[in-house]
């Protein structure tokens, strides 16, 4: 049987590595889910043929390309258009009609990864008659990913499954109208991009984004430990106008993360919440 000590050493080395990344580059993964970070970094050590996290730490400190690989490992890059289509139906029914009552709508998509869900929302807004009077701020901490999101180029193979999702989400148009196919890729239409602002923002270390009407942050909170989850939910509360919506991932909940009860559920099953009117935070 392996000594429990080696696992303890591994955790110490992981802490040192995360501390080194933070102090050298400012990316803060110290409050991420530890089992997740451990799993991703073990994979990196294995792929790079290294012996330990300490060796990885040395490389990260002296070689920025190594840092870029680690950032890629620790970002959430797995996403799809109209993921959980039934939930998009809820957004069409519960959120879009409220947004229509505002003269101008501000939406923040926090942790947008390669942009699939941002374009999904842009399509929803267009079909909801909100085109040209909304601004979608799509942010991520990973600059490489944002560039991908800006390009809005996806594989045609993926687009096929997105088409099915789009139909299940209650789409009222023809999905192929929203992209141009070219060889084995699909490029999202320019009209969809004109209301989107892609920007760099780190939920762990950056501040609030003012007066949003809707914040979308799906499958990001699950990567954080409970303290950081609470901090980020409070950041969302401060970034929302009163009565603003918060939409989180299908397996996330505010049960432990909202001690001040800034939010109330709109459709709990769909993980859709609304900032209470009485809340001034």
């Amino acid at each position: 049987m392996e000594e429990a000590g080696s696992l303890e050493n591994e955790k110490i080395e992981m802490d040192c590595l995360l501390e080194a990344i933070f102090r050298k580059y400012g990316y803060d993964f110290r409050s991420y889910s530890r089992s997740h970070v451990l799993r991703r970094l073990r994979r990196r050590v294995e792929i790079d043929g290294l012996l330990s996290f300490s060796e990885l730490q040395h490389r990260v400190l002296y070689d920025e390309s190594c840092l870029q690989r680690v950032l890629q490992d620790l970002s959430i890059n797995v996403t799809e258009m109209f993921r959980d289509p039934a939930f998009y139906q809820v957004i069409r029914a519960e959120v879009i009609p409220v947004l229509r009552t505002y003269p101008f709508v501000r939406i923040w998509h926090a942790g947008c990864a390669s942009g699939e869900e941002v374009y999904s929302m842009a399509i929803l807004l267009k079909e909801g008659g909100l085109e040209s009077r909304c601004r979608l701020y799509a942010t991520d901490f990973n600059e490489a990913t944002i560039e991908k999101a800006k390009d809005g180029i996806y594989s045609l193979a993926d687009i096929r499954s997105y088409t099915a999702n789009y139909q299940k989400s209650g789409g009222t148009g023809v999905f192929s109208d929203y992209y141009t196919a070219s060889y084995d890729s699909a490029i999202m239409n320019r009209e969809l991009k004109k209301d989107i602002v892609f920007a760099h923002h780190n939920l762990v270390t950056d501040g609030e984004f003012g007066e949003m009407h809707l914040i979308i942050c799906r499958n990001v909170l699950i990567y954080f430990n409970r303290d950081l989850q609470k901090r980020v939910v409070s950041l969302f509360s401060r970034s929302l106008a009163r009565g603003g919506f918060l939409w989180i991932g299908s397996k996330e909940s505010l049960r432990y993360d909202d001690p001040e009860e800034a939010f109330e559920p709109v459709v709990e099953n769909a993980r859709l919440y609304r900032k209470r009117y009485g809340t001034d935070e």
């Binding site: 392996e2 955790k11 802490d15 451990l38 991703r40 950081l228 909940s253």
Partner: protein, 211 residues
């Protein structure tokens, strides 16, 4: 159930207090799983002294039907594992479709949507390895029917940390590839039990209280 006292924020990590008693059962199952789970869970009695955490490979868009079916068949309450929830003794948990289920360094559940591992999400290896990190020798891992090799890496890790491994007899399994691969991965001598479905509930009940 003993749990560690803190997590994250730079602490070096804590381990369950040294004790021989088992703390958690993890189950990995793929093709043919419905019938196998029916018999294993159906054979466990209410008040089973440990949490039972299951990864069953299934379609990414499958709904809560499996949970409902298993609830009907099992003496234990069955639910989908929820983010940051602590597993409770006498309760069975199913990994949600399209998420990896991990055991966090404080013993609670953690979900991720990282890319599939060996084409699977949830991944049996991901659960087994992280559960083993936390429970070490106090983990009982069970591999049932399946048509791929997920779980093999996981049982290697479980054995390296001194945990127990129970594998369904490939001769009986509807799909023998997965149990055979698990046995091959650690060597037949290192498998604690190779057993038929009918025997597995009794073995788990025995291991749960054995010291």
């Amino acid at each position: 159930m003993k749990r560690a006292t803190s997590d994250g924020n730079g602490s070096a990590g804590h381990f369950p207090a040294p004790s021989q008693a088992a703390g958690l059962v993890v189950v990995g199952v793929s093709a043919g799983g419905l019938e196998a789970l029916k018999r294993v869970l159906g054979g466990l009695e209410a008040g089973f002294p440990l949490p039972v955490v299951i990864v069953q490979h299934r379609r990414s868009d499958s709904d809560s039907l499996l949970t409902r079916l298993l609830s009907n068949w099992s003496g234990l309450p069955v639910s989908e594992a929820e983010e940051k929830e602590p597993p409770l003794a006498g309760h069975a948990y199913l990994a949600p479709a399209n998420y990896h289920l991990l055991i966090e360094t404080d013993g609670c559940f953690s979900l991720t949507v990282d890319e599939p591992e060996l084409f699977a999400r949830p991944s049996i290896n991901a659960l087994f390895v992280t559960a083993s990190d936390y429970w070490g020798p106090r983990l009982i891992a069970v591999v049932l029917t399946g048509a791929n090799a997920d779980g093999s890496l996981g049982v290697q890790r479980v054995k390296a940390r001194g945990g127990r491994v129970v594998v369904q007899d490939p001769g009986e399994a509807e799909f023998p590839v997965m149990p055979s691969a698990a046995i091959a991965a650690i060597g037949i001598g290192a498998v604690d039990y190779i057993a038929r479905l009918a025997e597995i509930p009794g073995i788990l009940a025995h291991l749960a209280v054995a010291s």
